[in-house]
Symmetry: C2
Subunit: 163 residues, 2 copies
């Protein structure tokens, strides 16, 4: 229904009569609004950092999930990433092209693949984890460690709730 990756260009400095810094007064009381602004900022930061590796944030997430669940099927990966199976095909193709992961026919059910990290993928993922953690810190530099922990706690509580 609604996307996942894309994200708008950050607002640029205005030389106009209207100060863009205060244009969103009134909106700042909406959780949905500030959540989106904050997410855009953090996501874009990570996205830029990952460019070096020709990776998108969703592909990093996929590597994390494959590492945690070696041998899982594409269908499960798609569900975990909240994407449709056709998107998972493209994503796994990309990971294979980069030599980071691979499909292995290893299940009793011969229709499905098991997904595994390659040796290179394992090493690369280690590097990516450090990069992602650093990107988190950099893009949330306005917060101290305690505030970051608090924010993490609240967000986890929010999104986990499935009611």
């Amino acid at each position: 229904m609604i996307n996942t990756e894309a994200m708008a260009k950050p607002p640029e400095q205005s030389n106009q009569s209207v100060d863009p810094a205060i244009l969103d007064q009134g909106l700042e009381s909406y959780l949905g609004y500030v959540l989106r602004r904050a997410q855009m900022k953090v996501f874009q930061h990570l996205s830029t950092r990952l460019d070096t590796f020709e990776l998108r944030p969703a592909q990093f997430t996929a590597l994390m999930i494959i590492e945690q669940h070696p041998g899982l099927m594409q269908a499960d990966l798609a569900r975990a990433l909240a994407i449709e199976p056709p998107q998972a095909v493209v994503l796994v193709n990309k990971l294979e092209q980069l030599g980071l992961a691979m499909r292995v026919r290893c299940k009793p059910d011969k229709r499905s693949y098991g997904l595994f990290l390659s040796k290179v993928g394992e090493v690369r993922l280690k590097e990516l984890k450090a990069l992602a953690a650093q990107s988190d810190r950099d893009s949330t530099a306005a917060l101290d460690d305690q505030e970051r922990a608090q924010l993490l706690h609240l967000l986890r509580k929010l999104y986990r709730d499935t009611q």
Copy 2:
């Protein structure tokens, strides 16, 4: 560079061997990850609520900004929404089609329009504000009022920081 509106379908219940609820272990320690999951949830909730009015979240945001800054130019609106001028054209066209806002040639600079809410737009926006506030509460039902306030504070602090 990267988008704003779109958002992936929510993960569906799995009947597989892998429990999707715990597939993202390890990822939950990344602020970027939980931020995105939380944002998707809240955004999608609002998006669904706004369907009734044939509006997208960005269009609601635009109405809020026009109300707060009557007579502003499209270029300023685009900057505030972090979208490109061509997107602002389509967005304002839609608001005009719905009879909620209008372009008025009222500036000394005859190239630009001033953007204003219509009477209908003002009334409608009142309704939309209540809807958005309720959507915020519903989609963050896992949090109590104090936690919501805390989350709002932290997110505001995070995204406002421009360093």
